[in-house]
Symmetry: C2
DNA sequence: ATAATAATTAGGATTTGACCTAAGTATTGC
DNA sequence: GCAATACTTAGGTCAAATCCTAATTATTAT
């Protein structure tokens, strides 16, 4: 079986997020995949929203949901595996906090995308304007 | 049990994705789900990038990929079902173009998230500053 | 009319995702 | 020590996602 080295000691163990690849260039596609995938579930987005107010324990985070705890915890694992949150266990309580760096990857992709299509609209605009001028 | 196999979130109401399209305020979670889900595949993101240059036919879009055509076309369907592209068939050629409105939903969510997170940092900052002042 | 092109339909195989219940392990409070 | 608390592990169901090949339909070119 494959996966992150979770097995050794879950205590205070921070799951190693995937490497981002190039620091200043575009991140590896697989990382962006994971971020968008993690954001595609309403429970997970709601958890991120909750965590942007303050860190919280597993049971605090789970409280609003009728979902069984193991199912909910799996959502937390998805968020952590994809680097959107970090967690630390102290005693029997695991506390989660937001890790906003990876959200930036999603924002960046969308920003690039927006710039590209806006540039295209500009070109189209210029073209249409020229057509209009030429037809006078 | 009626069609609710996965609907554990209190807010999740299944609505036809198209129905909730253009709307002020926060869109239905399911629509945002679909947008992020559509963006979580590298092939689909690449198609969107390609389309931000200009509209293109199915075979033009498929050309760079070694994937079988029916598999590729399914990606196009996912994009269209989630409102990220539109298509039109003329003769035997179907042409796709970008539909950027839905991308804005993703941007908006990320923007709100960032604002929340930054507001929190500000509060923390103010708090720490106050501690420092008080300790003088 | 026939052949080539563009896309679609039909029907799998396999994997991943999102839930569940039941039982287990540490930690902490009394 | 014993019970409650806070997760964690194990194992299972069911649906959806992602790929495939083969065959088909519709359109255009020769």
């Amino acid at each position: 079986m494959e996966g992150d080295a979770h097995g050794a000691n879950p205590e205070t163990q921070i799951v190693t997020p995937q490497a981002t690849g190039t620091q200043q260039g575009h991140p590896r596609a697989a990382v962006v995949d994971g971020v968008f995938r993690a954001l595609s579930d309403p429970t997970r987005r709601a958890v991120l929203e909750r965590l942007s107010a303050s860190p919280a324990s597993v049971s605090e985070l789970a409280a609003p949901y009728k979902m069984a705890l193991p199912s909910f915890v799996e959502h937390l694992r998805v968020l952590e595996r994809n680097g959107l949150v970090r967690s630390r266990k102290v005693g029997r309580v695991r506390t989660y906090q937001l890790a906003p760096e990876r959200l930036k990857l999603a924002e960046d992709w969308l920003g690039r995308q927006r710039r590209m299509w806006e540039r295209r609209l500009d070109r189209l605009d210029a073209y249409l304007l020229k057509m209009k001028e030429d037809s006078k």
